[in-house]
Amino acid sequence: MEVLEKIKEIIAEQTGKDIAEITPETSVMEDLEADSLDLFQIINDIEDEFDVKIENTDEIKTVADVVKIVEENQQ
């Protein structure tokens, strides 16, 4: 759960949205109106935070997708 909370925090900061609005089901680009550059920056911040390398961004739609990729990369 710690991963999810930190990711929500990073996404809220980059998109300027209220963290309470963000759930695992939230679509980063549609619900939060993030564009590709927001997504790039979110991924960079996540890479720095969790010390992981995220190569394929095409699979990322929802917040849960981001959590899954981070957890897979951490293993």
Binding site: D35, S36, L37, F40, Q41, I43, N44, T57
Partner: protein, 323 residues
């Protein structure tokens, strides 16, 4: 001790102004899409002039602004990734066009960091006493390399040229510099691949004259590498952020500049931006901006400015200068 100092600046941009709306008539895009993702509102495209033509016009503007005699120029460096020919170099063509018969001239390829690499190179010739002065120009006609079927790149680039005349000085000038390369990531931004081919090839090869960019890779590089470079330059120079009058970043994307500002904690107001008017003109963005600032009288003797570029190679570079 010998230093090199900017005596005068100049620029030239071709006359065909292409707005986002004009592009959206040919490409599936919109003014809102381009503007919100890049800060670009328009770009200037060549009306038939090639890179050496616009570089020579920028050179004449530089010489006029500083009352420099072309016969006195000892070195000409043109930074470009869109030369007229593989040979002669764009710099040699400029030499001929402006009548700088006593100069030695060569091109330098470092994409969007090219102008910084050019100044750094010229500075070494001046500091070592080999030459007393140098004309350093960044010039690009990128429109000839744009794939107008690729909406992710063709909306971002434009044509233009700018430069400076450097001369030896007793003090001041370049206080700190850094140039760097990461060839391992080179394939994330490529332009005009020249494939090996000859008449004994079984399969003829197809030429690809276009520019291709992996947007995420370049975003990643620019937003991670440039802030570090800027902070190292400030530290090396011994001045503090408050003393810095302006940062002139390579104008690739306004959103990238916002992130650089956030990461360096240098207020965004200190970053000079003109990407809305010219888009990304690669090696020419920084000298065009510098000349514009001179014309607007934003810079005065004794001001500290920092220029920072990043781009193809991949390369990055920065200079902290006392005007």
């Amino acid at each position: 001790m010998i230093f090199s100092k900017i005596k005068c600046t100049g620029s030239y941009v071709p006359g065909k102004i292409v707005t986002n709306d004009m592009l959206s008539q040919y490409v599936d895009t919109s003014d809102e899409w381009i503007r919100s993702r890049s800060g670009i509102e328009k770009r200037h495209f060549s009306e038939g002039e090639n890179t050496s033509d616009i570089a020579a016009k920028a050179a004449l503007d530089i010489l006029e602004n500083g009352n420099v005699n072309p016969l006195d120029i000892e070195l000409i460096i043109v930074a470009t990734v869109s030369p007229d020919y593989t040979t002669p170099s764009t710099a040699c063509l400029v030499q001929s066009k402006i009548g700088a018969v006593n100069a030695v001239a060569f091109d330098l390829s470092a994409a969007c960091s090219g102008f910084i690499f050019g100044i750094s190179t010229a500075d070494k010739f001046i500091k070592t006493g080999v030459y007393k002065n140098a004309l350093v120009i960044g010039a690009e006609v990128l429109s000839k390399h744009l794939d107008f079927k690729d909406r992710s790149t063709c909306v971002l680039f434009g044509d233009g040229a700018g430069g400076v005349f450097l001369e030896r000085a007793e003090n001041g000038g370049i206080l700190a510099e850094e140039i760097g390369s990461d060839g391992n990531r080179g394939m994330s931004l490529i332009c005009a691949e020249k494939k090996a081919s000859h008449i004994f090839n079984i399969e003829p090869v197809e030429e690809d004259n276009f520019l291709h960019m992996d947007g995420r890779a370049i975003f990643d590089f620019a937003t991670r590498q440039t802030p570090k470079c800027i902070l190292r330059l400030i530290e090396k120079s011994g001045i503090c952020v408050e003393q810095l009058k302006y940062v002139i970043p390579h104008q690739a994307n306004a959103r990238i500049v916002e992130i650089i500002s956030r990461k360096t904690k240098i207020p965004l107001q200190k970053f000079y931006m003109n990407i809305a008017e010219y888009s990304n003109t690669s090696a020419a963005t920084i000298p065009i901006a510098l000349n514009e600032m001179m014309k607007k009288e934003l810079l005065h003797k004794g001001d500290y400015i920092l220029m920072a570029g990043f781009g193809g190679g991949l390369t990055w570079g920065g200079l902290l200068i006392k005007i």
